[in-house]
């Protein structure tokens, strides 16, 4: 992998490898000294064109635990408002010899543009672009789901896929980069994905996605999902005639106390409730649901750091040999082997790659 731009072009092998490395990284997080020297001397720039404290600090923590130098570059309200283009910003970062650029941008495709333009040679990590994708969010969701699924099956997480798992994603799919990234990644990992939401908030063209679509949340819940992922309802959608009122939305598509009780009634004892945060309590999710033992909200936050460490590590540690692997799908054994490449806690087995790839088209 040279960049991490979307989960749609992430092969099952690379995805599993990333999750397996993230397991190792999570182990580091349990140590007293939560730091690896893997990326010492490398520079990671967090280039945020949109406010997102949560994602930014998660990436910052990940890079710092790998000993990288971190530069936070919040563009909103500074140079963009003065008319500095993405191109100029990118070239500025290139001149500062950034090794990786973690970019959050309100325009769909901005990270892809950065990666393909030739303006910059750094590895590009998409930290959320418009309504396109948010691959590290999906990876941390998959990581969280996999741990849950492995525990239920009595297996170790590493190497496990999501085969047989049923995941229901609920809400504003149309504007959700989290939903898109999850649909591709979870299906790649073998899960069955169900979508539920008002027809106005499901994209035209959703019919060709590898998932089943429900307009009625209770019908979708009757499919007995193993996980229910509630999407955040953005404030700006509330007044744009996508639905009549927030109360109606909440009644029809919110995970309220009644639906929480329904899970118990249906005997779905192992079904978890997920939310990428920040939550609108009382709107798409009730407080009782958010705080219930089923909720994985805090585990998701914790796992975010591990997954982002894995992404930065794999992108910057220089092993580009895995790019041709796409369709070899019997990857579990390989993935386990690969996981042994992860440095031990105090080790310096990883030598930073000095043969950075040249320009790309």
């Amino acid at each position: 992998m040279k960049h991490l731009l979307s989960t749609q072009d992430l092969s099952a092998r690379n995805a599993l490898r990333l999750l397996d490395v993230a397991e190792e990284m999570a182990a580091v997080g349990q140590r007293e000294i939560k730091k690896l020297p893997a990326l010492r001397g490398r520079t990671v720039v967090n280039l945020f064109f949109e406010d997102s404290t949560r994602t930014r600090i998660s990436f910052e923590a990940a890079a710092k635990r790998l000993s990288a130098d971190v530069i936070n570059f919040a563009v909103k309200g500074s140079s963009v408002s003065k008319g500095e283009s993405l191109k100029d910003t990118a070239q500025t970062l290139e001149a500062m010899s950034a090794d990786a650029v973690v970019i959050r941008h309100p325009a769909s495709g901005a990270p892809a543009r950065l990666a393909a333009s030739g303006w910059i040679d750094a590895a590009v990590v998409n930290a959320g672009d418009g309504t396109h994708e948010h691959p590290t969010q999906a990876l941390l969701d998959a990581f969280t789901l996999r741990r849950h699924w492995a525990r239920l099956g009595g297996n170790p997480s590493a190497g496990t896929t999501l085969a047989g798992m049923k995941v229901l994603i609920v809400g504003d799919v149309l504007h959700s980069r989290v939903a898109r990234s999850n649909v591709w990644l979870l299906t790649t990992l073998g899960a069955e994905v169900l979508l539920a939401g008002p027809p106005t908030l499901l994209p035209v063209g959703v019919g060709s996605w590898p998932c089943t679509v429900y307009y009625n949340l209770d019908e979708a819940l009757a499919q007995r999902p193993d996980a229910v992922m509630m999407l955040r309802l953005q404030a700006e959608r509330m007044n744009a005639a996508f639905f009549p009122s927030t109360r109606e939305y909440s009644r029809r598509w919110g995970f309220d106390d009644g639906r929480l009780a329904l899970l118990d009634t249906m005997g779905l004892d192992d079904t978890v409730i997920m939310h990428p945060g920040p939550m609108n309590r009382g709107l798409e999710i009730s407080s009782a649901a958010a705080d219930s033992p089923r909720s994985t909200v805090l585990a998701q936050v914790r796992n975010g750091v591990s997954v982002r460490m894995a992404a930065l590590y794999l992108l910057l540690s220089g092993d580009h040999h895995d790019e041709q692997d796409d369709e070899q799908d019997d990857e579990q054994a390989d993935a386990k082997d690969d996981a042994t490449d992860v440095p031990a806690g105090n080790g310096t087995r990883t030598t930073p790659d000095t043969t950075r790839e040249g320009t790309h088209p």
């Binding site: 283009s85 993405l86 325009a107 769909s108 495709g109 418009g130 309504t131 898109r180 994209p203 035209v204």
Partner: protein, 456 residues
């Protein structure tokens, strides 16, 4: 008509295949085709042009060109745009009104008209705005533009839809007084707020705001009914969807006086290209699906769509070297139109060269009411013609183009067909595939003889 040294140059075009038919010699003198075949004998002082293997066609007429002048001379000027047009095989272009200031007064259209005369590469016909400042609120002085020296016949707010149904009705009615036509940019504004690309499977994946086909089709449906009601003629710019084709087919079957246009890029490219997020593929209307592309080709072949219009829209590089959402919409097209139409329509057997001439020259000239353009290649006719090498193959390289715009979506593609010569009113503006000389301004086949001193 005044004459001078350049238009007295006599050309003997040897062995050109007329509209793809039998090869004949063509003798051009004094701005006209004076003889064909056996009658076209050589005389002293004649310039011979070897056209062996070349097809002779009437000079192409573009109903839809953005020349950007006045106002955005960094993007294009009348001079650079008309050079590109001549190289692309055009002898006339219609300069769209969305300049700055907008071409909504007799003064601005006359300015553009005179710039075209001064350039001398092609006939430049200004399009007048329908509404003041393209604002969609008040009719511009359509009559004044029609009566100006520019003799405007095509009116359009292109880039913006005349969406107010009452205003559209009035415009359609009003231009009947001087045989004008309203060229509508069919885009329902509310359905396309923030729209970035065709709404469908690809937009769903890319997370780009969708531009539904119905936004185009609903306006076309309304407009053909309005045109029928008031008995006016309507031209639909850059038709891009299969549904639009169906509506126009229906309208024509009912005898409604509607003509329609398709761009070369909508005949070839699809929204799959947007997956790259490269703004060179960002255009209005957006690239659609392959089903739409095939419906458009069928419609152009069967006459439902009447003409090819380039919608040549040059932009400075900074308007394309950015994020998709921030990028400007539009593509260059003058220098690739012939090749793309040959590739999509002629080489697929859907049009012969006579059909090519119909959709690129004869019919657009008729819609724009250009008397000297799109004429048969026959003795006594104005010598607006081109020589095309249909066997040529070339790879599109925007950096070598005459237009200032580098935003060609065909970059890197190998295309067939190359324009070897362009004769504009008997004057060779292109010879051997390269720009020759412009036609001197004083030679005008224009409605007026007086050319101000500053143009010389």
């Amino acid at each position: 008509m005044t004459t001078d040294a350049s238009t007295t140059t006599e050309y003997l075009i040897r062995g050109a295949s007329i509209l793809g038919g039998p090869s004949q010699d063509i003798l051009v003198r004094g701005g006209r085709i004076v003889a064909l075949g056996e009658d076209a004998g050589a005389s002293a002082g004649v310039t011979a042009v070897d056209a062996e293997g070349l097809v002779a066609l009437p000079g192409m007429v573009d109903l839809h060109t953005h020349l950007r002048e006045p106002g955005r001379e960094d993007a294009e000027t009348v001079e650079t745009g008309s050079r590109a047009a001549a190289l692309g095989g055009f002898t006339a272009v219609h300069a769209m009104a969305n300049s700055s200031p907008v071409a909504d007064t007799a003064g601005v259209v006359e300015q553009v008209y005179r710039l075209g005369l001064a350039s001398g590469w092609v006939e430049v016909r200004p399009v007048g705005a329908v509404t003041v400042g393209l604002g969609g609120e008040r009719l511009a002085e359509l009559g004044a533009m029609a009566e100006s020296r520019a003799a405007v016949r095509v009116f359009s707010d292109d880039g913006i839809c005349v969406h107010d149904p009452v205003l559209m009705r009035r415009a359609l009615e009003y231009v009947k007084a001087f045989d004008g036509v309203i060229a509508q940019h069919a885009q329902e504004p509310r359905l396309t707020e923030g729209a970035q690309m065709n709404e469908g499977e690809v937009s769903a994946v890319l997370g780009l705001t969708g531009w539904p086909a119905v936004a185009e089709e609903s306006i076309i449906a309304r407009d053909v009914l309005l045109a029928q009601h008031v008995g006016s003629r309507l031209h639909v710019c850059h038709v891009s969807t299969a549904g639009s084709v169906e509506i126009i087919r229906w309208a024509k079957a009912r005898g409604i006086d509607v003509t329609a246009e398709v761009t070369p890029h909508h005949l070839l490219l699809t929204d799959e290209l947007v997956r790259s997020y490269d703004p060179v593929y960002k255009v209005n209307p957006p690239l659609r699906t392959s089903e739409d592309v095939h419906a458009l080709r069928e419609a152009l072949a069967d006459g439902t769509i009447d003409v090819v219009g380039t919608d040549h829209a040059p932009h400075p590089s900074e308007h394309k070297e950015c994020e998709w959402a921030q990028a400007a919409m539009g593509m260059t097209g003058l220098e690739t139109a012939l090749s793309v139409v040959q590739h999509t329509m002629v080489e697929t057997g859907m049009l012969d060269w006579e059909g090519f001439a119909r959709v690129t020259s004869v019919t657009p000239a008729r819609i724009g009411r250009l008397e000297h353009q799109g004429r048969p290649l026959a003795a006594g006719e104005p010598a607006n013609l081109i020589l095309v090498d249909p066997a040529a193959r070339w790879t599109v390289d925007p950096s070598t183009m005459a237009t200032k715009g580098r935003n060609s979506p065909f970059r890197g593609l190998e295309l067939p067909g190359s324009v070897r010569a362009t004769f504009y009113a008997g004057h060779a503006t292109v010879l051997d595939g390269r720009l020759a000389t412009p036609r001197p301004a004083a030679a005008g086949a224009a409605p007026t003889q007086d050319v101000p001193a500053w143009t010389i």
